[in-house]
Protein backbone atom coordinates (compact mmCIF):
# COMPACT_ATOMS: atom_id res chain seq x y z
CA UNK A 1 0.00 0.00 0.00
CA UNK A 2 2.70 2.41 1.02
CA UNK A 3 4.68 1.46 -1.98
CA UNK A 4 1.70 2.04 -4.23
CA UNK A 5 1.15 5.45 -2.65
CA UNK A 6 4.75 6.35 -3.30
CA UNK A 7 4.53 5.56 -6.97
CA UNK A 8 1.31 7.48 -7.25
CA UNK A 9 2.88 10.47 -5.50
CA UNK A 10 5.93 10.22 -7.70
CA UNK A 11 3.86 10.06 -10.85
CA UNK A 12 1.77 13.01 -9.82
CA UNK A 13 4.91 14.99 -8.96
CA UNK A 14 6.46 14.01 -12.27
CA UNK A 15 3.31 15.06 -14.08
CA UNK A 16 3.21 18.46 -12.36
CA UNK A 17 6.87 19.11 -13.09
CA UNK A 18 6.43 18.16 -16.73
CA UNK A 19 3.34 20.30 -17.14
CA UNK A 20 5.04 23.29 -15.54
CA UNK A 21 8.09 22.82 -17.75
CA UNK A 22 5.94 22.53 -20.84
CA UNK A 23 3.89 25.61 -19.93
CA UNK A 24 7.06 27.52 -19.18
CA UNK A 25 8.61 26.50 -22.45
CA UNK A 26 5.46 27.42 -24.37
CA UNK A 27 5.23 30.73 -22.56
CA UNK A 28 8.79 31.58 -23.38
CA UNK A 29 8.96 30.28 -26.90
CA UNK A 30 5.59 31.28 -28.37
CA UNK A 31 6.18 35.04 -28.48
CA UNK A 32 9.64 34.51 -29.94
CA UNK A 33 8.26 32.22 -32.60
CA UNK A 34 5.45 34.54 -33.68
CA UNK A 35 6.65 38.11 -33.13
CA UNK A 36 9.58 39.86 -34.77
CA UNK A 37 12.59 40.62 -32.59
CA UNK A 38 11.83 43.39 -30.14
CA UNK A 39 14.03 45.92 -28.41
CA UNK A 40 15.28 44.49 -25.15
CA UNK A 41 16.38 46.46 -22.11
CA UNK A 42 19.93 45.89 -23.39
CA UNK A 43 19.26 47.40 -26.81
CA UNK A 44 17.44 50.29 -25.14
CA UNK A 45 20.53 50.90 -23.01
CA UNK A 46 22.66 50.76 -26.15
CA UNK A 47 20.39 53.32 -27.86
CA UNK A 48 20.62 55.59 -24.81
CA UNK A 49 24.42 55.24 -24.72
CA UNK A 50 24.52 56.26 -28.38
CA UNK A 51 22.84 59.54 -27.44
CA UNK A 52 24.49 60.36 -24.11
CA UNK A 53 27.88 58.72 -24.65
CA UNK A 54 29.70 58.21 -21.38
CA UNK A 55 28.00 61.15 -19.64
CA UNK A 56 26.09 60.37 -16.45
CA UNK A 57 22.30 60.56 -16.58
CA UNK A 58 20.57 61.93 -13.47
CA UNK A 59 16.94 61.33 -12.59
CA UNK A 60 14.77 64.42 -12.35
CA UNK A 61 14.01 67.81 -13.93
CA UNK A 62 11.68 66.27 -16.48
CA UNK A 63 8.36 64.53 -16.42
CA UNK A 64 6.76 62.04 -18.80
CA UNK A 65 3.00 62.25 -18.99
CA UNK A 66 1.60 58.98 -20.29
CA UNK A 67 -1.56 57.17 -19.15
CA UNK A 68 -0.53 54.29 -16.82
CA UNK A 69 -3.16 51.93 -18.26
CA UNK A 70 -3.41 51.94 -22.04
CA UNK A 71 -6.29 50.21 -23.83
CA UNK A 72 -5.00 50.76 -27.34
CA UNK A 73 -1.27 50.90 -27.96
CA UNK A 74 -1.66 52.30 -31.47
CA UNK A 75 -2.04 55.91 -30.39
CA UNK A 76 -0.97 56.85 -26.90
CA UNK A 77 -0.72 60.53 -26.07
CA UNK A 78 2.70 61.38 -24.73
CA UNK A 79 3.84 64.65 -23.20
CA UNK A 80 7.35 65.33 -21.98
CA UNK A 81 7.98 68.46 -19.95
CA UNK A 82 11.39 69.62 -18.79
CA UNK A 83 11.98 72.17 -16.05
CA UNK A 84 14.24 74.79 -17.55
CA UNK A 85 14.35 78.60 -17.69
CA UNK A 86 14.97 78.28 -21.47
CA UNK A 87 17.40 81.19 -21.65
CA UNK A 88 20.34 81.45 -24.02
CA UNK A 89 22.68 80.42 -21.18
CA UNK A 90 20.55 77.62 -19.76
CA UNK A 91 18.18 75.75 -22.03
CA UNK A 92 17.18 72.28 -23.17
CA UNK A 93 18.88 71.24 -26.41
CA UNK A 94 17.14 67.93 -27.05
CA UNK A 95 14.65 65.46 -25.63
CA UNK A 96 14.81 61.77 -26.56
CA UNK A 97 12.19 59.09 -25.81
CA UNK A 98 12.99 55.37 -25.65
CA UNK A 99 11.03 52.19 -25.03
CA UNK A 100 12.09 48.81 -23.76
CA UNK A 101 9.96 46.36 -25.75
CA UNK A 102 8.97 48.04 -29.00
CA UNK A 103 10.67 46.53 -32.08
CA UNK A 104 13.05 49.52 -31.98
CA UNK A 105 14.11 51.36 -28.83
CA UNK A 106 13.88 54.88 -30.33
CA UNK A 107 10.50 56.59 -30.31
CA UNK A 108 11.09 60.26 -31.05
CA UNK A 109 13.87 62.80 -30.63
CA UNK A 110 13.22 66.53 -30.63
CA UNK A 111 15.66 69.41 -30.78
CA UNK A 112 14.82 72.79 -29.39
CA UNK A 113 16.48 75.96 -28.22
CA UNK A 114 16.01 79.11 -26.17
CA UNK A 115 13.34 80.35 -28.62
CA UNK A 116 11.02 77.52 -27.56
CA UNK A 117 10.24 79.37 -24.33
CA UNK A 118 8.96 76.21 -22.68
CA UNK A 119 10.66 72.82 -23.01
CA UNK A 120 7.53 70.75 -23.53
CA UNK A 121 6.27 68.72 -26.45
CA UNK A 122 3.41 66.29 -27.07
CA UNK A 123 2.85 63.59 -29.61
CA UNK A 124 1.06 60.28 -30.08
CA UNK A 125 3.11 57.10 -30.00
CA UNK A 126 2.78 53.34 -30.49
CA UNK A 127 3.50 50.90 -27.69
CA UNK A 128 3.91 47.21 -28.46
CA UNK A 129 3.72 45.85 -24.92
CA UNK A 130 3.47 46.68 -21.24
CA UNK A 131 6.86 48.20 -20.66
CA UNK A 132 9.07 50.97 -19.40
CA UNK A 133 9.28 54.28 -21.27
CA UNK A 134 12.28 56.53 -20.67
CA UNK A 135 12.80 60.17 -21.65
CA UNK A 136 16.18 61.86 -21.56
CA UNK A 137 16.79 65.61 -21.80
CA UNK A 138 20.07 67.09 -22.93
CA UNK A 139 20.81 70.51 -21.42
CA UNK A 140 22.88 73.30 -22.92
CA UNK A 141 25.53 72.75 -20.21
CA UNK A 142 25.97 69.16 -21.42
CA UNK A 143 24.19 67.43 -18.53
CA UNK A 144 21.57 64.73 -19.08
CA UNK A 145 18.39 64.24 -17.05
CA UNK A 146 15.86 61.43 -17.26
CA UNK A 147 12.47 60.20 -16.17
CA UNK A 148 10.92 56.76 -16.61
CA UNK A 149 7.42 55.39 -16.37
CA UNK A 150 5.93 51.88 -16.37
CA UNK A 151 2.84 51.43 -18.52
CA UNK A 152 0.38 48.59 -19.01
CA UNK A 153 -0.82 48.05 -22.58
CA UNK A 154 -3.82 45.82 -23.27
CA UNK A 155 -3.94 46.06 -27.08
CA UNK A 156 -0.47 46.08 -28.59
CA UNK A 157 0.52 48.14 -31.61
CA UNK A 158 2.89 47.47 -34.50
CA UNK A 159 2.94 43.72 -34.65
CA UNK A 160 -0.44 42.52 -35.94
CA UNK A 161 -0.88 41.58 -39.57
CA UNK A 162 -2.52 43.86 -42.10
Amino acid sequence: MTRHDDTLQATRRRFLIDTAALAGAAGIWLPLATGPASATPASMRAAIRKVVGEAPVTKGRLKIDLPPLIENGNAVSLTVAVESPMTVEDHVKAIHVFTEKNPQPNVISVQLGPRAGRATFSSRIRLADSQKVIAIAQMSDGSFWSDEIEVIVTLAACLEGV
Binding site: P36, N74, A75, V76, T99, N102, P103, Q104, N106, V107, I108, S109, V110, Q111, L112, G113, R115, A116, G117, R118, T120, F121, S122, S123, R124, I125, R126, L127, A157, C158, L159, E160, G161, V162
Partner: protein
Protein backbone atom coordinates in the same frame (compact mmCIF):
# COMPACT_ATOMS: atom_id res chain seq x y z
CA UNK B 1 -0.10 65.94 -51.18
CA UNK B 2 -0.68 64.97 -47.64
CA UNK B 3 -3.22 66.98 -45.73
CA UNK B 4 -1.74 68.95 -42.86
CA UNK B 5 -3.51 70.82 -40.09
CA UNK B 6 -1.72 73.59 -38.23
CA UNK B 7 -2.99 75.48 -35.23
CA UNK B 8 -1.15 78.71 -34.40
CA UNK B 9 -2.79 81.71 -32.75
CA UNK B 10 -3.20 84.32 -35.54
CA UNK B 11 -2.37 87.18 -33.17
CA UNK B 12 -0.03 87.33 -30.18
CA UNK B 13 1.60 89.88 -27.92
CA UNK B 14 5.36 90.34 -28.21
CA UNK B 15 7.13 87.96 -25.89
CA UNK B 16 4.04 85.81 -25.37
CA UNK B 17 4.44 82.04 -25.16
CA UNK B 18 2.39 80.40 -27.91
CA UNK B 19 1.53 76.77 -28.48
CA UNK B 20 1.81 75.31 -31.97
CA UNK B 21 -0.12 72.17 -32.89
CA UNK B 22 0.53 70.22 -36.06
CA UNK B 23 -1.09 67.15 -37.56
CA UNK B 24 -0.35 65.56 -40.93
CA UNK B 25 -2.07 62.67 -42.66
CA UNK B 26 0.37 59.81 -43.15
CA UNK B 27 -0.10 56.14 -42.33
CA UNK B 28 3.42 55.69 -40.84
CA UNK B 29 3.84 52.06 -41.97
CA UNK B 30 6.24 50.61 -39.40
CA UNK B 31 7.93 47.94 -41.51
CA UNK B 32 7.22 45.39 -38.79
CA UNK B 33 3.70 44.31 -39.75
CA UNK B 34 3.35 41.17 -41.87
CA UNK B 35 0.98 41.27 -44.87
CA UNK B 36 -1.30 38.32 -45.69
CA UNK B 37 1.60 36.38 -47.25
CA UNK B 38 3.63 36.72 -44.04
CA UNK B 39 6.23 39.08 -45.47
CA UNK B 40 6.68 42.41 -43.68
CA UNK B 41 5.15 45.46 -45.35
CA UNK B 42 8.03 47.80 -46.27
CA UNK B 43 8.61 50.76 -43.98
CA UNK B 44 7.11 54.07 -45.06
CA UNK B 45 7.29 56.77 -42.40
CA UNK B 46 7.93 60.46 -41.94
CA UNK B 47 11.45 60.71 -40.55
CA UNK B 48 11.86 64.40 -39.92
CA UNK B 49 9.86 67.50 -39.04
CA UNK B 50 11.24 71.03 -38.94
CA UNK B 51 9.56 74.27 -37.90
CA UNK B 52 11.09 77.63 -38.82
CA UNK B 53 10.04 81.07 -37.59
CA UNK B 54 10.99 83.70 -40.18
CA UNK B 55 13.66 81.37 -41.48
CA UNK B 56 15.17 80.52 -38.09
CA UNK B 57 14.77 76.95 -36.90
CA UNK B 58 12.86 76.75 -33.62
CA UNK B 59 11.89 73.07 -33.41
CA UNK B 60 13.02 69.85 -35.06
CA UNK B 61 11.84 66.29 -34.48
CA UNK B 62 13.26 62.99 -35.62
CA UNK B 63 10.48 60.42 -35.93
CA UNK B 64 10.76 56.64 -35.70
CA UNK B 65 8.21 53.92 -36.53
CA UNK B 66 6.95 54.15 -32.93
CA UNK B 67 5.18 57.42 -33.75
CA UNK B 68 1.47 56.83 -34.43
CA UNK B 69 -0.17 57.17 -37.82
CA UNK B 70 -1.01 60.78 -38.70
CA UNK B 71 1.84 62.26 -36.63
CA UNK B 72 0.65 64.86 -34.17
CA UNK B 73 3.14 67.23 -32.56
CA UNK B 74 2.66 70.15 -30.26
CA UNK B 75 5.37 72.46 -28.99
CA UNK B 76 5.92 76.02 -27.82
CA UNK B 77 7.65 79.14 -29.00
CA UNK B 78 7.92 82.78 -28.02
CA UNK B 79 6.19 85.22 -30.36
CA UNK B 80 9.02 87.59 -31.26
CA UNK B 81 7.86 89.35 -34.43
CA UNK B 82 5.21 89.25 -37.13
CA UNK B 83 6.01 86.89 -39.91
CA UNK B 84 5.68 83.37 -41.18
CA UNK B 85 6.03 79.97 -39.58
CA UNK B 86 7.19 77.32 -42.02
CA UNK B 87 6.59 73.64 -41.41
CA UNK B 88 8.30 70.86 -43.31
CA UNK B 89 7.90 67.11 -43.11
CA UNK B 90 10.21 64.70 -44.95
CA UNK B 91 10.14 60.93 -45.04
CA UNK B 92 10.69 57.62 -46.78
CA UNK B 93 10.10 57.19 -50.53
CA UNK B 94 10.76 60.87 -51.19
CA UNK B 95 7.87 62.08 -49.03
CA UNK B 96 7.89 65.82 -48.54
CA UNK B 97 5.22 68.27 -47.42
CA UNK B 98 5.38 71.93 -46.50
CA UNK B 99 2.94 74.31 -44.94
CA UNK B 100 3.16 77.91 -43.74
CA UNK B 101 1.12 80.06 -41.39
CA UNK B 102 1.25 83.81 -40.79
CA UNK B 103 1.34 85.33 -37.36
CA UNK B 104 0.80 88.94 -36.33
CA UNK B 105 2.72 90.08 -33.27
CA UNK B 106 1.73 93.33 -31.60
Amino acid sequence: MARALINVPPKAKRGELIEIKTLISHNMETGFRPDNTGKPVPRDIITEFVCKYNGEEIFRAELYPAVSANPFLTFFTIATESGTLNFEWTGDNGFSATESVNITVE
